[in-house]
């Protein structure tokens, strides 16, 4: 069963700005990989619970204690743009 992928929608969800040529390139490759991966659907998993994690983990709480965090200046130095102690980004909405 060929797998139908709305690749432009997936790329938008993943915030990847790809050209039409790139989209069709990845669409073809994903179809081949998903065709192989779809083998999981042939396995009878009735009454099988999904495993999200290999060890049976429970919440790992830590004590609510104040401890030093990373130095703000050092962290901001790695940002493409910062201002007044904040990360700086372009506007969320286009201005009219």
């Amino acid at each position: 069963m060929p797998i139908d992928i709305d690749i432009a929608h997936v790329a938008r969800l993943a915030r990847l700005g790809l050209s039409d040529a790139e989209l069709s390139h990845y669409q073809a490759q994903l179809a081949v990989i998903l065709d192989h991966a779809a083998r999981v659907q042939e396995i009878d998993t009735e009454d099988v619970k999904p495993t999200a994690h290999p060890l049976s983990m429970v919440n790992a709480f830590r004590r609510d204690e104040v401890r030093p965090s990373l130095d703000r200046t050092e962290v901001l130095e790695q940002a493409p743009e910062h201002e007044d102690g904040y990360f700086r980004v372009p506007p969320h909405l286009e201005t009219q």
Partner: protein, 487 residues
């Protein structure tokens, strides 16, 4: 001097026959002679390494000893953050990033006065099996420079094989320590999930990722794991029990042990030379007194499919953080969304984009149950298969990889064929179990072959015991032929 084992160097440092400074000078000299051909490193920290070596020598002179790694040159995969040393995970999107903190694994090395040689090349964000997916150029196999070193921890495997480090740190999500170890003729082990902290390991697939060592011998692997393992409150998935004893019984041999040969991990797709070396090693274990049992794990055949849904799904979530805001590169855009979509499309390489798209699709509305949900159920079946096998046997064995090192460029256009090279290593990641690769010979082209030993969670001691026995029985002492030229 560049070909010391860890245990050899450890003794030599303490009896005064070598200094930490001499070890690091030899390692850096070897790197200088080989980098043009092998490209194992993304960053060599000449000054920092020499300072650390001198400090280690001063500790020895003062009679202080922080443990077996003191003064030992270690190469660190570039997906572990290092304070003050550029860390890119071989991605253009992180070019120029200089972390303000150390990964816990790196901090542990430093506390024990190890000497960090530099940061090693890898497949971008650890996605790949050949180190060809690096944004900064592919690495080459020291046994044959037309071949890949394996991956994704290819640079660390090369550094150990070629003598530019005595220990390499790698990370293993689907075989990324064991497969390059096999292809480069060194020992590589993936610990039980949670034994080594993932804090500061740039996440690929968080439920699968685990840091582990690449070394020249099994005993060195034990020593390195002892140095790395331990609870870390900064990693919520870190194992909270007492650290298990990895070393007991190491020299005990295999007499009386039951060892299972996994039927599904052989046959079609496996090189004849790989199968021959594997069978010969199994025969040696049998002659040494192990009881060999053939074991069928039916879910092995589907585990690859499940992995290539689960790992991309987790990666698509983990890599959402690379958006041009807090670190790395940025492409300008009129809006924040334009900036992010341009930054990500430009900063990620093809394999990373492929996996983000795959994972996003598998998690998206309407497909979640059929793909991701079903893969998580298959994961349960893989775990059950292992549990049922370990009720009958102490350890399982298989080849580490179906083939020896393949030619550079031969699989880059066919992602699925590249994925198939992880078929033997992926199941242990899905189960969270430990596994190790030990070199057991070379094929007709003189390329190394790896033998994998798998054990139940926290069963490192029996895994190391079988691995150490294999190492003694096989007596693999070959070195890359080019070492004569580089020496």
């Amino acid at each position: 001097m560049s070909e010391y084992t860890l245990s050899g160097a450890r003794t030599a440092l303490r009896d005064g026959s070598v200094s930490a400074r001499e070890l690091i000078d030899a390692a850096l000299d070897r790197a200088a002679k080989t980098e043009a051909e092998l490209h194992a490193f993304l960053t060599l920290d000449h000054d920092g390494a020499r300072l650390a070596a001198d400090a280690a020598d001063a500790e020895f002179a003062a009679g202080r000893d922080a443990g077996p790694l003191q003064g030992i040159p270690v190469a660190v995969k570039d997906n572990m953050v290092t304070r003050g040393i550029e860390t890119t995970a071989a991605s253009q999107i992180l070019a120029g990033y200089v972390p303000p903190y150390d990964a816990t694994a790196v901090a542990r090395l430093k506390e024990q006065n190890a000497v960090i040689v530099g940061k090693t090349n890898m497949d971008e964000f650890a996605m790949g099996s050949s180190t060809e997916n690096s944004a900064f150029g592919s690495s080459r196999n020291p046994w044959h420079t037309d071949r890949v070193p394996g991956g994704s921890s290819g640079g660390s495997a090369i550094a150990v094989a070629a003598g530019s480090a005595i220990v390499g740190l790698g990370s293993d999500t689907g075989g990324s320590i064991r497969q390059p170890a096999a292809l480069c003729g060194v020992v590589g082990m993936k610990p039980t999930y949670g034994l080594v902290s993932r804090y500061g390991l740039i996440a690929f697939a968080s439920s699968l990722d685990q840091i582990g060592p690449l070394t020249r011998t099994v005993e060195d692997s034990v020593t390195a794991l002892e140095a790395l393992a331990g609870h870390d409150p900064l990693d919520a998935t870190s194992y909270r029990g007492d650290r298990p004893d990895f070393r007991t019984g190491l020299d005990g041999g295999v007499a009386g042990l039951r060892i299972g040969v996994v039927r599904e991990l052989s046959g079609e797709g496996f090189d004849a030379d790989v199968e021959t070396a594997f069978r010969r090693t199994v025969d040696l274990l049998s002659e040494a007194g192990a009881e060999i049992v053939e074991v069928s794990l039916p879910s092995m055949e589907t585990s690859l499919s499940a992995y290539y849904l689960i790992a991309p799904a987790e990666c698509s979530a983990n890599l959402a953080r690379f958006d041009g805001v807090r670190y790395g590169s940025r492409h300008d855009g009129a809006t924040v969304e334009e900036m992010m979509t341009a930054t990500r499309a430009d900063g990620f390489g093809q394999e990373v984009i492929r996996r983000i798209l795959l994972g996003t699709y598998a998690l998206s509305a309407g497909y979640y149950d059929a793909f991701y949900g079903q893969a998580q159920k298959v994961r349960t079946l893989v775990i059950r298969d292992f549990e049922s096998a370990y009720r009958r046997v102490d350890a399982l064995v298989s080849p580490t990889a179906p083939t020896t090192a393949f030619e550079i460029g031969s699989k880059t256009q066919d992602p699925l064929s590249m994925y198939l090279s992880d078929v033997c290593t992926i199941p242990s990641n899905l189960a969270g179990d430990p596994a190790i690769s030990v070199p057991v010979g070379c094929d007709g082209d003189g390329l190394p072959i790896g033998f994998q030993i798998m054990a139940p969670a926290l069963g490192e001691a029996v895994m190391f015991r079988v691995a150490h026995t294999v190492e003694q029985l096989v007596g693999f002492e070959q070195r890359p032929p080019m070492l004569e030229v580089w020496a």
